[in-house]
Symmetry: C4
């Protein structure tokens, strides 16, 4: 462990925690740098901007890589368990923020590095992880975790629906109306079932339009299912700070966190045990 009040210890508070003014200021600075680096990535992708300011953008990118590199080394240095940090989710994200800059030394035209540079945005969540937001995000995560199985059942049903409808449309409409293969039909079915409706592929035959109508009404109706699942779980998660121990007499199983007696039957939740011996 780290000796208290050491330099590393003080650094750890600033870099990893946010309940001190210094820690909060560090996080805010980092947030601004992350957002700035994202803006640079985006502007650099605009053709006209790139032609004019390519040099400036490359310079800024080098600067950001440097800053993130120093930050990564600091985190490694002041972390009590550097290896555990390095392989944690945020450790990997922090590393990914440095990698693209380094890789461009070797590959000059690495299009796919762009995505890694955008992944930096995930680091915002580290900063969001503070104060009141943490609790709210936990509610959302608890609701999502609680509804995981129902959502898997739902997604398998939706996948089956779009596969069957996609194949059906491929047979009914055929390649001459844009449904050139079953995967294309499935893509169309997803576009339609989710009510996105790009309009790049549309049914032309009367039978195809009847099937489309079915798909649309299905999609419009079953959107209720994930909503219902999630709402019910979230309501449970928000009520969920209660004491879950059942009353020994009436079996009521959700009590106030501080309860000593059941509020339905008045019997003690934790009867006093006879003294030993």
């Amino acid at each position: 462990m780290i000796k208290p009040d050491s330099w590393r210890q003080r650094l750890h508070v600033v870099v990893f925690q946010n309940d001190t003014p210094a820690g909060r200021r560090f996080d805010q600075t980092l947030l601004i740098i992350i957002l700035a680096s994202l803006v640079v990535v985006m502007l650099d992708s605009v053709e006209s901007m790139h032609r004019e300011y390519a040099g400036l953008f490359t310079g800024l990118e080098w600067l950001f890589t440097l800053v993130f590199g120093i930050e990564y080394l600091l985190r490694l240095y002041c972390s009590p368990k550097p290896l555990r940090y390095a392989f944690s989710f945020y450790g990997v994200i922090d590393l990914l923020a440095v990698v693209p800059g380094l890789l461009t030394l070797f590959y000059s035209d690495a299009q796919y590095l762009l995505i890694v540079r955008v992944v930096r945005m995930l680091r915002i969540f580290r900063i969001l992880k503070l104060g009141p937001y943490l609790k709210q995000a936990n509610y959302l995560l608890a609701a999502l975790r609680g509804s995981r199985q129902k959502i898997i059942v739902f997604l398998v049903s939706v996948s089956t629906l779009v596969t069957i409808f996609g194949a059906l449309m491929y047979v009914v409409e055929g390649p001459e109306h844009g449904f050139t293969s079953i995967p294309k039909g499935i893509y169309w079915a997803i576009v339609t079932l989710t009510t996105v409706g790009f309009g790049d592929i549309v049914p032309k035959t009367p039978l195809g339009q009847v099937i489309s109508s079915l798909v649309m009404i299905t999609g419009y109706s079953i959107i209720a299912v994930p909503t219902g699942i999630f709402t019910a779980e979230l309501a449970t998660a928000m009520r969920g700070q209660e004491l879950l121990r059942a009353c020994p007499v009436c079996a009521k199983d959700r009590h106030e966190p501080e309860a000593g007696f059941c509020c339905r039957c008045g019997n003690p939740l934790f009867p006093r045990q006879p003294a030993d011996g």
Copy 2:
């Protein structure tokens, strides 16, 4: 009935149940084969793939038909009531997995058999029907069953809306703007009301755009109806029912979930226990 520990009995456990390691392995193998057969169907529908690998795909299709055929015969053989199995929902689905392969012996260019081959996907639900998923799917089904009547009322109202709006648009916009008939107008109304919005037919006249705005806002608002119905039912299904404990004095046996006293005779449902000692 089948004699325990016989060969058929052991086969039945492997093929139909999934609480043994062998049964689970059998189901997983089947799942992979089903997915593989689906992938083959899809790739085969892609023009360029079909031209190059038609022979391979036909061979694989024959293999899958063989495997599913053997599986079907095994299920028939080890089922305690073969006829009841054969006419059950899954029995028919299992048979349908074999039919298309056999039919291609007689019809060489059977486009519509494609759909039957895709229907194999429904067999995934047999495998999903295990462990924790079963309970979750039951919640969903209970909620859907509970809201069936409300949903029928809702669907009839939606059908009436799209018919009247479709006819209105046919009269207002006319064939020169793509609304060539009332069924086409209804198709447009469904596309619009469900917020899919392909854009293949769009209103051009000011009056048509006003009516469209009405349809869109209606569609946007009434999406609340199925969601509300389903959420309310799902919450009921998950919360369970009334307290079933009978009153110790008057024996009334269904109470409000939170009741502490009988609402008929006023006596406590859970008399307070004498203190220990």
Copy 3:
């Protein structure tokens, strides 16, 4: 009033009620005729069908007008209060089913009569008004009535949003990108906010696309509002058969319909009054 067991009385039971086999059969026949007349209207609007079968469709339309006319006269005849029936909602709908056929005697090419002919579909609701559906439709109507004021607040907010966003886009994008006037901009804002997205008018300038993104995320988020309103009201409406009298001691105000004592505190809901004198 009508003398029991008279001919008119028996006709009234068949025509207006549906708890006898004869009444149910009458309703089912009517349902089929209404649907058939709708199918004829739709097919007649298809150009190729009209050219070939115009005579047949006109004949059928005459037949339907005759049937609905006889039915209307029967209803008038056997109704205990014919005038009140004639001016009731369903009385007007029943009359509208006859009118278009008669009017075509005078106007040969009455396009707008088409809509009146489609309005016949509303008559299906008369037939739906039976058994279990009635109660469910009442739940839905109660929930809609209960949320009326919240929905008006919501619709005024949405109208303000689309007007301001529509004017903004008219100024930002201008007539050269399809936003030819403020009403057109409002039409676009409705198409976008409701997530329909036809794609007939789309933003082309960067600023326009930023504003569009705002509109879309707003629309995607506030769809939660009507859903939330309706779900909360529907849950209340479904719980709503309870006794609403508050307990005189603890003021709990929702009890089982049969309750005599409060299920929270055990005190009588209706204390016995001292005898008079």
Copy 4:
């Protein structure tokens, strides 16, 4: 303060309040004038209308400016604290209703003034702020305020999603399929995730269509999140809070809504009354 029954006092009641017939009539007249001025702004933006009636529209706009100007001066005059009114939200909105008319004296072709003229619509909310609507709007605002933090977490997640997906599509599809820059990709991702689906930019490559399908299914599923958040909060806002009655023995004062016994000391919250007589 203002002397009661003075002329200013009586004017204040008419102009600012709406519980007298005169006040209500004043508000209704104002509502009609606001709507009329909006209609004029809209019609004036239609090219053909503008060409023919430009003079009439300018005259009406002058009239409306005059009316709103007089109204603004009246409000300033009869307000007990004129400065506080002038800097309140509605004070600024009221002033904005007059400004565009005055500014056109100096700028003849001020396109952007159009938006200020449309902002007048916000004044409708002042008039809506009456009677039963106030309470309903408060429920909605309470639910929105209660879910603010959850919604921020949600919006940050959505922003991250659209940024990463937008960059991914820019790399996968490239400028030749319309994804000319990362911001354009983000615009597309928002159009798709919110299920709007204009169809002005659509994926053409198979990989792009697979990613699109992911985006669409994500968007379709996470629409459940804001709905769930809002519904849960609205239900809480409408159900009200815990039972506030203090326990007669230990004085604990916040209990579960259905509590019959104190959960700290086990004594009944509502002791049973002695029977009458």
